[in-house]
Symmetry: C2
Subunit: 389 residues, 2 copies
């Protein structure tokens, strides 16, 4: 089934260069990546992705931890028909003692829980001009959960990392074709250093993982965009050269054109979102807000450093004001709540919020375009209509 | 807040005729219902609905009971910021003893559980030509859950129905504007007879309702499309004339044009869906299936009567074959599993399934168009590519 790897279960070939035609798949089934033409509308292919994947309804930014079913979901292929009873995780490649772990063995190891804000790397893609053709997120592909599992480092220590290992390659059970390349979903992480607090997680918000979030096992890489958090995790292989599989070397790179090798997509860029105030129109989602004092609230996050500052505008960027950050709650890899007191006047307003992290990274006011539509953290715009009286 | 009702909490005015301009809302905020022009693409307003609402990923048809987060969700306005601790349900209008029930009181009453397949009345809308402009479902707005709560009849018996009461009006806490009408979401059911097995439900699959499914309380009307299952239920009022609120008399009617009074949308028309076999291309969702025997499986349902028959075609309707229905499982208001053994040959195929219920209702092979895009149970088409060898 797995055409990308040389050996399916435990030896992804780190030197394999994906070929756009090696499955013999007709282009009508699996076409190359592309950017929409000027003015090209949302296609039915893009629509079909949005009816199965979903974002966070923005009013759900009110919850510290996102309730099940409201956290964003992006499934590349199909949700596998997985069963915890017969699930195994293999740990192999450049290790001293290859492991094959059943769920019971994983659950018997010391567990940790991290609260993590996760965001799709393609969040904001559908707002780009021109629009990269893929899952057309507007701004809502985010969520925060409490993930429980075994530290990846503990599994690597148990297996024993052999000299020369430079990356760990993680393979999920989800299988499909993407841009002509048949594959199991697969990503790698560097070993020196390994990103902090990486988990092999079997619980989300204290419950077994829901199917769409990787049941029974997934990787969680705090601070990184969603593509790194390999779901339905079945294999970890240590390799002696950087992994060049599709999701690492072809997809998920910041490229300006098809020939640009680009830079890899890794950590989450800063973003603030606000709970749209008032109430919506069903069809346009435009907000209506009665005049009177209102506490505008939202969340802000960055995968690079804690959020240091959130600014708010209620006049579409003509003036910016400091929002009040909630006190630190000890969850350094999760979003931070903020508030801003506003007294709207009758008329039409546009609200935005802008996050800056402790490293000084902030959100752009013009679109940060790239060919994959990754990391578009352009500030959100929320039009609000305040009726007179 | 509630401009549709004369008295907000317990006395929806059954004679009120919604006026398209009584909120003074600009048309740019809340426009009238409309049908897309010939060839008009999916708009960003439609896209914004699909990024917050979502359907059932079709591979999840494999589960008898849909896991949390995979059941379809359609939220008209915002998910209310509801808390079970201070939630009350009022029962008033033409009753002998008006009731105000806290959650603890509801939970102390004898409870029942029903397995119910629920479907959005607008499922299939985006496949219609011309396309009614609203939530653009393709075919996936369905799910099955175990709902636990108090029979509505028990609450009506406790309050005592007074002579002259003809309908019960159900009001949710979700507030918004729709087609120019500001409103709390509100629907009615007839009392003589009341549809069978109607529940006031506080649990879904054994857990408190998720926020997006009506936490802490919703109506469940087995066999009816989703618009009847009022979420965030806060009031039941018995009235002496048919309710004419927006969601009853304006929306959710089978109309051929804007002046047609139309027929009300009520029970779910028959439909079969299949789990797309093989594996998908990421972008087109087209299926690739290796040659060899395959069990095509799916679900079928009807809100009118049990499913009697499912037929399958693998040649885009040129020939139809009987599928094998799973034995009855006692859940008469839930979908029924079916299977069909298929031996695909190399090439391109189109699969469909067609349900017929015990009343002889079946699915059309040409689109059943209406202005709201309701009840489009045209058979699903699943293109499958079988590579040679």
């Amino acid at each position: 089934m797995d055409r990308e790897a040389t050996h399916r279960t435990d030896a992804p070939d780190p030197t394999e260069a994906p070929s756009p035609d090696h499955t013999g798949t007709p282009a009508a089934v699996s076409a190359p990546a592309r950017v929409a033409a000027d003015g090209e509308p949302i296609s039915y292919d893009e629509l079909a992705l949005t009816t199965r994947n979903h974002g966070l309804p923005l009013e759900a930014l009110r919850y510290d931890v996102t309730p099940p079913g409201l956290h964003y979901v992006l499934v590349h292929y199909d949700i596998p028909d997985a069963h915890a009873d017969d699930w195994t995780l293999s740990v192999g490649g450049l290790v001293k003692s290859p492991l094959t772990l059943h769920m019971a063995a994983l659950r018997s190891l010391p567990a940790v829980t991290h609260r993590v804000t996760m965001e799709c790397a393609g969040n904001g893609r559908a707002r780009l001009t021109p629009r990269p053709v893929s899952q057309p997120w507007l701004v809502e592909a985010v969520g925060t959960a409490e993930w429980t599992g075994v530290p990846l480092q503990a599994l690597l220590d148990a297996a024993g990392v052999r000299p020369g290992a430079v990356e760990a390659v993680f393979t999920g059970a989800d299988h499909g074709i993407e841009r002509g390349v048949e594959q199991d979903y697969r990503r790698s992480l560097p070993l020196a250093p390994l990103p902090p607090d990486v988990l092999v997680a079997y619980a989300m918000n204290g419950q077994p993982l829901p199917p769409q979030h990787g049941y029974p096992l997934r990787l969680v890489v705090p601070g990184w965009y969603g593509m790194a958090h390999v779901k339905w995790l079945r294999d970890i292989t240590l390799v002696d050269a950087p992994f060049t599989g599709f999701q690492q070397a072809v997809a998920y790179r910041f490229r300006q054109d098809a020939d640009d090798p680009g830079e890899p997509v890794t950590r989450i860029l800063p973003r603030a979102l606000l709970v749209p105030p008032g109430f919506p129109d069903f069809m346009s989602r435009t907000r209506v807000l009665r005049p009177g004092p209102v506490r505008v609230e939202g969340r802000a996050w960055s995968g690079f450093a804690p959020v240091a500052r959130v600014e708010v505008t209620t006049d579409d960027g003509a003036s910016w004001h400091e929002a009040e950050l909630a006190p630190p709650d000890g969850h350094s890899t999760a979003w931070r709540r903020w508030e801003y007191a506003w007294m709207p006047t009758p008329g039409d307003h546009v609200l935005s919020a802008r996050a800056t992290d402790e490293h000084g990274r902030t959100q752009p006011l013009t679109q940060p375009w790239n060919r994959g539509g990754f990391g578009n953290n352009l500030v959100q715009r929320v039009p609000v209509h305040c009726p007179a009286g």
